[in-house]
Subunit: 188 residues, 2 copies
Amino acid sequence: MSQLLRKNIEAISPLTDDEFEYILSHFEYKKFKKHSFLVQEGNDVRCEYFVLKGCVKAYITDKTGKDFIFQFGTEDWWITDREAFFKKTKATHNVDCIEDCEVLGITLANREKLASEMHKYEHFLVMRANLGYVSLLKRIQSMIMEDAKERYEQFIEQYPKFHNQIPKSLIASYLGISRETLSRLYRV
Amino acid sequence: MSQLLRKNIEAISPLTDDEFEYILSHFEYKKFKKHSFLVQEGNDVRCEYFVLKGCVKAYITDKTGKDFIFQFGTEDWWITDREAFFKKTKATHNVDCIEDCEVLGITLANREKLASEMHKYEHFLVMRANLGYVSLLKRIQSMIMEDAKERYEQFIEQYPKFHNQIPKSLIASYLGISRETLSRLYRV
């Protein structure tokens, strides 16, 4: 299953077998049960995670206890509280498992070690960060410009797997609409 | 004025005088008049720009001709159509000058040359991309969770300079509210 990680890196930086084995040795394989936390608000953020199997959601809880989902992560996605991870501060949001998950985690120390040792890996990191930036920017554009129906259609187009994998109530939260509104769009 | 660029890079990667001079030699200094375009939809995106002076806005125009501002850039900011710049495709949005501007531009070829020659510079790029990602993610969280008043207050807090520098009608567009609603918030 670690081949998924190799494929993810090689989409940007092709690797030899030895290089990939070396990179992989800096990751730790972990299993998480449904509802358990990869990142928990107020705690240290030990790792950045690459999802091998399953699906997670990232969300903030406001003062009234309402959850706001702002990201999903499924197979082949990277997820953590990136700010807390880099700044070594406490997490300001949660990432938990919608279903049983298997992930590869890397600590900041190992990430920086790899980046300083392998220019190829640092190149991969910079390109991945740039692509992530572009994808968030598109999401902001969509939030500003599009109505609920267009955003839902875009969601399905962008994440065809998610569409079946994630409970509709969570998709509604992500899109910032009610479960009822989503049901209406879903039936159209 | 190029010291602004040095300060920006050195916030992440300290440089010797020679290293900075070498980096700077890969940038071109340009002046843009108010209303002129750094990036124009449908055109090639030649450079990524670091703003030395002035203020720019990035926006998309929808089918009905309505503009949606999704980013501002002022002194000490980097701006371009990042996706088109990296993928060498045509721009999908505009970046134009709200006032007369002075910028330093770097082509993709020069950016990649510097990154491959100087590990320090690649490290700067990866950290900058990560911080940019974090800042967009916070913006998405704010768009999902906060009402117009909270978003406006956050805008003032985050960009104290912008608050005076940018016409209120443009701030209203950025916040996704009407000019009238902003006026009400502004008076409170």
